[in-house]
Amino acid sequence: MKTGRILRSVLIALLLALVLRPDWFVPIFAPFAPDGGPVIYQRASMLSLSLSHLGIVTLASAAATIVAVALAILVTRPAGAAFRPLSRTITNMGQTFPPVAVLALAVPALGFGAGPTLVALFLYGLLPIFENAVTALTSLPRATTQAARGIGLSRLQRLLRVELPLALPVTLTGIRLSIVIGLGTATIGSTVAARTLGEVIIAGLLTNNTAYVLQGGLIVGLFAVLIYDALVQLELYLTGRMGG
């Protein structure tokens, strides 16, 4: 546990340094840059790219969470039960769609820019959240739901006070999956002119500047690993509190 905490602090410090003080890394990246070429990406600040990247992912994931949870509630009510087999097929088949392909297919429809990236992230992000939320809502302990009916809670009260809180940890796992996929897909989003950290990597690939690739890759990788870790910790905390 202790080594985990130390490692985490080191990675956070490294990430902050890479984002806020990229110049410190000139000696490290220099061997990878072409002779006489720039070592550190200068066309945009790492901070603004990071914020834009995280902003896109946050926006798409938040929208996906709201819509996916609402749909999950819908298909787990008696009125929406007819849609359950269909929704299962859509989630199963939808998740086999490669995220890159979803992004690529959004371009003909929406043009270039942040738009297709947002839509691709949103659509793709729906699936794991919906799947996990449905699983969570349909596998609640029977004794608890019966007790909730027994003490006279209305349907809405049961949903808000019992079902949704109990479904939270599993739903959160879906949100984590969706955010991790989103961070990766947003990186590729820079190929359709969305402003994300992928821009640095792509610039490196196009100009054969491995230093850029390394710089962008490290920042994106660290963001993903640290955000994943933070969400896992949050899940563990919530599951622990519910005695799961």
């Binding site: 087999p85 890159v100 690529a104 590729i188 990597i201 690939l205 994106v220 690993v225």
Partner: protein, 388 residues
């Protein structure tokens, strides 16, 4: 009245409403050349009424056939009918639209067409889900659909569409990138299996190794694909230039090698994780009995743990295969080849149909792989579940 209402399938109703709405959205796009954005054309204006009327009628009837919940076969037939109507509209209108436009003009299906395709596919899926076909039947259906797709594409009835014009000017490149894509996806799967199965079996027996391996692999899995592919470049570049003979076998900073390695790293978690989970799924009492009756540890592994864990282990391979088919697209960015080459060339040239030429086959490939692997997993799950 109530009797009829309860017989209407709610998804069928939703499909009908969305389908009719999609008819109002532009059905085809006509562009002056392959680069510029096109102009959307409504379904009623793509051709004369002798062509549009039967097509639109087929679509509408197909949607209507999907309405009755109980008549599952009719709903399935409705989906086929509707798709046939769409094919009719597409194949008949494309030459007419092109003949009215300039020399470099391109015609492609637009949002209305794609929405209707998706709706009829979902109708088909919904009807099929109710029919619950067995694994063999699903295999036959998949095969029939793929054959129909190949026949339609080879017949030339769609050759006026822009995507297929992109295809015909790159026929050779298409098939070589196709093979490259399969090579990347299946090659990395095979390599992951060769490394992952033994590693998974070792992890199953050694708790300490498991505790160290699985978290590392799951962190690898979280690294965004572009970063992973990118980070392979300096690593393999360094390997290629320092290890003697490495370059001779194709290890270099860009190209096939870094893409392959990145895919391999992504594949390890599902293979190892599911192997561990599969082996651990053996009922403890069965394992105790196996030990008690004098099976050696390799006999236990081969006769009890592996056969019982096989469905879970194969599920891991399904995840890897589908994931790698998708991720192999990124290889196009680092010169690794595959369908990604078309996708990123298309994005560079803002040629949307070139993007589609890369993206559509990837999607079909991923779906086919997923369905085939699902069938395989189900076949290995044939022994009844433990009830006690």
């Amino acid at each position: 009245m109530i009797g009829i209402r309860t017989h209407i399938s709610p998804p069928g109703l939703l499909f009908a409403i969305l389908g009719l709405a999609s008819l109002l959205v532009p059905f085809m796009t006509l562009a002056a050349n392959r680069i510029v954005a096109g102009e959307g054309i409504s379904v009623l204006r793509i051709a004369g009424p002798t062509i549009t009327a039967p097509g639109v009628a087929a679509v509408t009837i197909g949607l209507a056939m999907g309405l009755i919940a109980k008549w599952t076969r009719l709903r399935l037939l409705g989906a086929v009918f509707g798709l046939a109507g769409l094919l009719w509209l597409l194949s008949r209108s494309a030459p007419i639209l092109l003949s009215q436009a300039g020399e470099y003009a391109r015609v492609s299906p637009a949002a209305g067409f794609w929405c209707l395709v998706v709706i009829f596919m979902l109708l088909m899926a919904d009807a099929l889900a109710a029919l619950k076909p067995g694994p063999l039947m699903r295999g036959i259906l998949l095969f029939a659909i793929l054959v129909a797709l190949v026949l339609v594409l080879r017949s030339g009835m769609l050759s006026d569409l822009s995507v297929l014009q992109e295809f015909s000017s790159r026929r050779d490149a298409f098939f070589s990138e196709f093979l490259r894509h399969l090579g990347l996806a299946f090659g990395s799967l095979a390599a992951a299996a060769v490394i992952g199965f033994p590693l998974g079996i070792l992890c199953h027996h050694r708790v300490a190794l498991r505790g160290a391996t699985l978290p590392v692999l799951s962190f690898l899995q979280t690294i965004p694909s572009l970063a992973m592919f990118g980070l392979m470049i300096p690593i393999l570049g360094w390997l290629g230039s320092t290890v003697p003979g490495a370059q001779a076998i194709g290890i270099a900073g860009i190209g096939f090698a870094p893409a392959f390695l990145a895919l391999l790293l992504y594949s390890l978690l599902p293979v190892v994780g599911n192997t561990v989970a599969g082996l651990a799924s053996t009922p403890p009492a069965a394992l105790e009995a196996a030990r008690g009756m004098g099976m050696t540890s390799s006999q236990r592994l081969l006769r009890v743990e592996l056969p019982l864990g096989l469905p879970i282990i194969l599920t891991g391979l399904r995840i890897v295969l589908v994931q790698n088919i998708g991720l192999a697209v990124i290889a196009g960015l680092i010169g690794g080849g595959g369908f990604g080459t078309f996708v990123f060339q298309g994005l560079n040239q803002t040629a949307t149909d070139l993007i589609l030429l890369g993206a559509l086959p990837t999607v079909v490939l991923a779906l086919t792989a997923a369905i085939l692997m699902d069938i395989l997993v189900e076949l290995t799950r044939r022994t009844p579940e433990e009830t006690v």
